[in-house]
């Protein structure tokens, strides 16, 4: 399966996301921000980092890049899209996901191993997990506090679109401990912590993050 990984100027975890795809058994395809072509990929990952230096607002400039225009259109047609950290911010700025991510409540960048509970397992990115499964993956962000108005939050909860929540402590002040959400169709997922940094036991806290990438490949095979 061909999985595109976008590189914006200032993307940092693009190589890690590509490695995670390969570890899971997929083929990682590099997508360049200025190139509108998606090169026939079957899914896209927007990686972590500081696209365009986080100038103006995290993700605010990246959403206007040529590649994003294609991704927004393809996401509407069901293309699986996973935004991690800065990628989540880009998805919110592009209005593929509701809400926004603001500065951590402690006002510091934080890098640590974080426990999450996977709540929804019928998305293209989470089907390899069990409902309620606790996983440990790194979190590393300065602006990871998920916020939205009450109505939106209630709607997310009611529709089961909170896909993961922080457990054992909320690292950044996210409302309702939300770590990740999906769109209504379930093909677009935004996640603040970094599953791509937990795919090799040697270089991460474990391999709990691999499930996101396995999910994508597993469902693709079932559909084929």
């Amino acid at each position: 399966m061909r999985v595109g990984v976008v590189t914006f100027p200032g993307s940092l975890d693009d190589r890690d996301a590509a490695r995670a795809v390969r570890v899971a058994g997929g083929e990682a395809v590099s997508l360049w921000h200025a190139d509108p072509s998606l090169h026939d990929v079957e899914a896209v990952i927007l990686p972590g980092g500081f696209s365009y230096g986080d100038y103006l607002r995290c993700g605010a400039i990246a959403r206007f890049s040529p590649v994003m225009e294609s991704i927004v259109a393809a996401a509407g047609d069901g293309l699986p899209v996973l935004g991690i950290c800065n990628g989540f911010q880009v998805l919110c700025e592009a209005h593929l996901l509701p809400g926004a991510l603001i500065r951590n409540d402690n006002r510091r960048f934080i890098c640590k191993d974080q426990v999450l509970t996977i709540e929804r397992t019928d998305t293209r990115w989470t089907s390899a997990y069990r409902p309620g499964q606790e996983i440990v993956i790194p979190i590393k962000n300065g602006e990871g506090g998920y916020v939205a108005d009450q109505h939106t939050l209630d709607e997310l909860e009611a529709e089961g679109r909170v896909i993961a929540r922080y457990t054992l402590g909320n690292p950044n002040g996210s409302y309702r401990n939300i770590a990740g959400i999906s769109n209504e169709a379930g093909n677009v997922v935004g996640l603040m912590p970094h599953p791509e940094h937990a795919v090799e036991a040697l270089t991460g806290p474990g391999t709990d993050g691999l499930g996101f990438f396995m999910s994508l490949l597993g469902l693709a095979e079932a559909a084929a």
Partner: protein, 754 residues
Amino acid sequence: MSGPRVDTVPVAEQTPEQPQPFKELGLAADEYARVREILGRRPSSSELAIYSVMWSEHCSYKSSKVHLRQFGEKAPKTDALLVGMGENAGVVDVGDGWAVTFKIESHNHPSYVEPYQGAATGVGGIVRDILTMGARPIAVLDSLRFGPLEAHDTARVLPGVVAGVGGYGNCLGLPNIGGEVYFDDGYLGNPLVNALCVGVMRADSIKLAKADGPGNHVVLFGARTGGDGIGGASVLASATFDDAHQAKRPSVQVGDPFAEKVLIECCLEIFAADLVVGIQDLGAAGISCATTELAAAGTGGMDVQLDLVPLRDPTLAPEEILMSESQERMMAVVEPDKLDAFLDVCRKWEVLATVIGTVTDSGRLRMTWHGELIVDLPPKTAAHEGPVYERPIERPLDQDAVVEVDGRGLPRPVKPDELRHTLLRLLSTPDLADKSWITDQYDRYVMGNTVLAQPEDAGLIRLDESTARGVAVATDGNGRYTRLDPYAGAQLALAEAYRNVATTGARPIAVTNCLNFGSPEDPGVMWQFAEAVRGLADGCRTLGTPVTGGNVSFYNQTGSTAILPTPVIGVLGVIDDVAKRTRHAFRADGSPVFLLGDTRDEFGGSEWHGMHGFLGGRPPVVDFAREQVLADVLITAAAEGLLDAAHDLSEGGLAIALVEACLHGDTGVRVRLPEGADPFVALFSESAGRAIASVPRAHEQRFTELCAQRGLPHQRIGTVDLLMPEVAFEGLFTVSLRDLRAAWSSVLPRRFER
């Protein structure tokens, strides 16, 4: 449009008597006279700017040069060294065609004036040094020193520095894998911010800073030049602060890590396509440094049209452009037929690139400003032939007294509850307390090759996902030991960094150093410096690990009071298979715990003395032969898979090492101190050449055989206990992990989280 009156070379020739502000620029009268002698006339103001920054202490090493030569003269023979001192950073061969470059550098004074930007641009500068060698930067470490934790100003400096180191490194996508933090009164007005960067490349693709080939283009690329950091090199890095330091605030450079990240990717693409003849980053002394050094190391001449330099502030005068330390800029020498390809790569990354000059064989660096000649000088005289001083050296008058008053009179804890109390108090001293409040602000995961990071003994990074090969790096430096005996202090720092690297299973092969001292004009400070350099050079020869590069930072003092002399030593080691690395936390239930090495009654410079506000006596004895044996056992045992965990013993001694191994592993340990040992000495002495190791029971025999074979003293002192969350010293006292953690982990958060 040449703007208001530019001082040109012809004008200088016609007005030999015109007074010039050489003193304000930091040049001594005899240095100024020498510039006139070299040029055969008075310098133009642009030439004066160039000489003043290039001959500053920071750029010319004029006070340290005569001492630093020992690193070359005493260098051990090694095949590993591909590029030695003198280039932007040293390069070592790490096998399989891989080469690694690493270097540590200070950004002390700017970090006091403007903690965030000072620290951030310190990281940015050392990363560009590594990039300049043709390498992809793959990790950073930071070695920090601050005033007392409770001091008012520490609440300004420490959080700012930490946020700056993190802000820049995180945004560059470089994992921060280690370093250290210590506190002392002397650092209150003189915090130390030393940043180390490691880079990797193929051994056949090293790049050098030289402008070869007449007719080749000189290209300036990266950020525009602004007014920031003007005079930073000579004013900020070479002058002592006084009460008027606020006036110097604008001199600190401002960093833009996004611009640097893009510049890194752009350069790596340029290197991969082999598009440059030579390359130099712009750091201290900016364009002055890059042009003179490139020209001096290459064919010898260069013509530059200075008015072509893209500016952020169009009002800048040529002198200011020459001295500007605007960040995120590089200078490359490009052959004419490769220029288009070079500019294409820059365009792809949206990096501004401008041809500003040409390499010549004239032996002169000539610069024009809107057609008028403003600089015409032999580049070597600015880059390499600066003044060299044999500064007066004198052993400080109080040195004997400092050693003689050795703290024997301090009441030592004897009873079990006194020992227990001492342990808890030591654990909550700022030096020994948990540093995760700091290190949790650094991304250690990015790039996906971090095998070990803080709080491990050394950071360990896989070179690339295509190989199992990795490098370990540790930094160490103990100003307290060095104050008591600078020769031994530098060697102890070297020994500890060497030991830390070996503890992870990597074999130490090379050294970098950042020498932080007070004013070189103080003969006592100069004695400390000379002794420390001699100690380090001798130590490196004995250990067979050459110094590959480094940095000197003088004038770290307030009034006549210098900081503790603080040589920070970085050691780099290689491991063939990163999967065989040793971690420091206990993890396996029932594993025997061994104490390796000898423990003596050594408390000079110790944390226990520091806890009493005391500094005196002699530091621990250095025994490099023992360090080598210990390293050899740790490396061999790791390669054979004989270890569950190993942890170096240093500040705070055995007790602290055991507690750290337990707290990080969330395990307990039962310990029986060696028969007949004085419990206080056994627990808290800081004797060097020691480590603890936990060994799976199945390997106990093989491990003890290995130690015996190599002649390494080893004693089984305890057993890891997964079920009892406590550290138990049999017959003495027991402390729960909960109490230990409370004492240890709350110190920094309590101070910085209101």
